[in-house]
């Protein structure tokens, strides 16, 4: 599509990107080099790539940072990389543990206090089989069929997104993301608040509620899609993931949820690791273009909103060439609308869930260099350098499915099971991050964690729980 007419524009756009981020072509290397040469690189790059002015804020932070190892002029880059990977590993693991834990905590707390989310009455339109038969075989088949349908939808949406991204239809993608986060932040938050108020028996008038919802939603939109304090953005992303997980728990039939978890983690494996996997294509394209992946989809332990700013800027640049594609966009939206016709609110989800669940499910360590230049200029007090060097990113989809597993486990009322799943998932995440440090490429975050989680869920529920209950009942301590 992009070759419709504005070939030259595309070229300029690309070169513009290259100008800005030329040093970032190989993120890892670039980070290491920057660390190695410290401040020097920075000021150089700032001077050379003229679009970024030297800022006062960047000044003071530089020298202080150059102190530790600034004296050695050119240490072997490879060794530096190794050391870095290891050094930041441990802290970044914790930086992911905390949000994942918080997200699970929100879900578990909600599940165990608000009964609305554990009552099954309505189901998603994607899961036409409702597992109402008493026969185990039928249930299994229902669950598998449901999860396959869901997987197909997800795969389809992933491919659609990749195509849009490949064709540089940033406007459409952003529209899609904004629409879905709008739905989540307003409609689903409203449902959540309503049910929470009902569960805790708190009366509230509609005016107050509308006021609260408006402020909450608008702030969320601003923070996620434009800019705002990092903590706030992270909080919103965690909340969105938790809401999405609650929606899954509520609207998926019992066994379908487990089947979906298993199927999704296999899909994740395929999508990220196979040479033609859609997520892999997405990551590679993003790397090629030196762009971050959409902020609404990824939780980052580093500054994120500036990345959003960068992306929107690019989208703006490419606007004209994208215009012919708008028809494509309406098609997509129509598709969504059709789906909406099927099952009321499903369209909203389709977009959102697909968007959320799909391609973000992956983590990677990457240097977020270009954006940092922007940040440094926009915000006088620079962040501590270390924080900015490199962040670990975890797709919101991972948050969602981790929380679905733990939330589902907690919905049966046994806290041992919940705890076992929680620890299993964290260990899985640890192992994934370890692999990430070893392999140094984008990895699927779901397979290991979800496998551990599922194993421990079923083992605990079937075998450990009776034993633990017997021990507790007789007060035998082992």
């Amino acid at each position: 599509m992009s070759d419709t007419g504005s070939e030259s524009e595309e070229a300029t756009e690309r070169t513009a990107l290259m100008d800005g981020h030329i040093a970032e072509a190989r993120p890892d290397r670039e980070i290491a080099e920057r660390i190695a040469r410290k401040k020097k690189t920075k000021s150089d790059s700032q001077r050379t790539y003229g679009s970024v002015e030297r800022s006062d804020g960047g000044g003071p932070s530089g020298p202080s940072r150059s102190a530790p190892s600034g004296s050695n002029p050119q240490p072997p880059v490879e060794a530096q990389i190794e050391e870095l990977e290891l050094k930041y590993g441990a802290r970044h693991v914790i930086k992911l543990f905390v949000p994942v834990t918080l997200c699970m905590l929100v879900v578990v707390a909600t599940i165990s206090t608000v009964s609305f989310y554990s009552v099954k009455d309505v189901y998603l339109a994607y899961t036409p089989f409702h597992e109402e038969s008493p026969h185990a075989v039928t249930k299994v088949w229902n669950a598998l069929a449901n999860s396959m349908i869901l997987l197909c939808v997800i795969a389809l949406m992933t491919v659609l997104l990749i195509v849009l991204y490949k064709k540089r239809c940033y406007k459409i993608i952003h529209g899609w993301l904004i629409l879905s986060s709008l739905m989540l932040l307003f409609l689903f938050s409203y449902l959540y608040i309503e049910e929470a108020l009902r569960a805790y028996n708190i009366p509230m008038d509609y005016i107050t509620l509308a006021f609260v919802m408006w402020n909450f939603g608008v702030m969320g939109m601003i923070v996620i899609h434009w800019k705002g304090p990092l903590r706030l953005q992270q909080a919103y992303l965690i909340f969105i993931a938790a809401l999405m997980a609650l929606v899954f728990i509520k609207y998926l039939p019992e066994w379908t949820t487990w089947a979906v978890l298993a199927v999704i983690s296999i899909w994740d494996l395929v999508a990220v690791l196979t040479p033609k996997g859609p997520l892999r294509i997405l990551v590679e394209t993003a790397q090629e273009r030196n762009e971050p992946i959409f902020p609404a989809l990824i939780y980052s332990s580093t500054v994120m909103y500036c990345l959003a700013a960068t992306t929107t800027a690019t989208a703006g640049e490419g606007e004209r060439e994208l215009r012919p594609l708008n028809s494509h966009g309406t098609e997509a939206r129509q598709e969504g609308a059709q789906a909406a016709g099927d099952g009321g609110f499903d369209a909203a989800w389709e977009a959102r869930r697909e968007a959320d669940a799909r391609q973000p499910r992956r983590m990677r360590v990457e240097g977020t260099a270009p954006a940092q230049y922007t940040t440094r200029i926009e915000r006088p007090p620079p962040q501590p350098e270390l924080e900015e060097e490199k962040g670990v990113k975890l797709g919101l989809g991972d948050f969602i499915f981790y929380s679905v597993l733990v939330g589902k486990a907690s919905s049966y009322g046994d806290w041992n099971t919940t705890l076992a799943c929680f620890v299993a998932i964290l260990i899985g995440l640890c192992l994934t991050l370890l692999l990430l440090a070893i392999l140094k490429k984008a990895l699927p975050a779901l397979p290991i964690s979800i496998t551990f989680g599922l194993i421990f869920y079923f083992a605990t529920r079937g075998i450990v729980k009776p034993f633990a209950d017997a021990l507790a009942a007789e007060q035998v301590f082992i």
Binding site: G89, F456, P466, A472, Q475, V476, F477, I478
Partner: protein
Amino acid sequence: MTLAEFYSCSLLAFGPPLVMFAMTIANDPVRIIIMIAAAFGWLLSFLLASLIWFAVVPLRTYLVFGMVFAIIFQELFRYGMYLLLRKTEAGLKEISENHDIGSNKLEMAYVSGLGFGAMSGAFALVNVLADSVGPGTLGLNAGTEYFFVTSAAMTLCMILLNTFWSVIFFSGLDDKYYPKIVWVVASHFFVSGLSLLNRNELYAATIIPSYIVLVITAYLAYRSAGGTARSFIQSFTVRA
């Protein structure tokens, strides 16, 4: 009332471990990871023990049987943790920003012991605690009203014991001084065996000896970690 009971019992059982966690572990990522790994190790050991308990159907009513296996597996996994930590010691030192980590060899033993204990304590108590919130309570009509309190006290004892056991165990393996390991395993069997009396509501007979064992174990752990009477007193005086 039930809510007060819930809070007091949870604080009794998990308060001290929580403080230990917050003050010694929470600010070091590597330690948190090791603690979670230890918790996972305990989980695996418990899973294996329950598997055996579950598989041997005729003996399922005898908890002693399950208990013995649970203890054996726990000690095996403690040994496994030891091997794992000693193998990865160099790597851990590298990834932690705090470079004097591992300056005391038993630091990791303490961390993994706390992870072990926390998980075992959580498994022993969380469901009891969840029930203690109400709406019903124990001791009004039948049963003893001391159930929750003694349960929480025993849990605390087990958490602390696990921490100290790990320290003693690791130091025993480091120094190849096996009586320490024998003490760990023997006292583990002793305390768990005592808790079998709980079913007859002989709580005093369980708790008092258990806490005596706890004190002895704490002393041994302190000595193993290189503490002396003088350093004990010094730790209370204000440092400049």
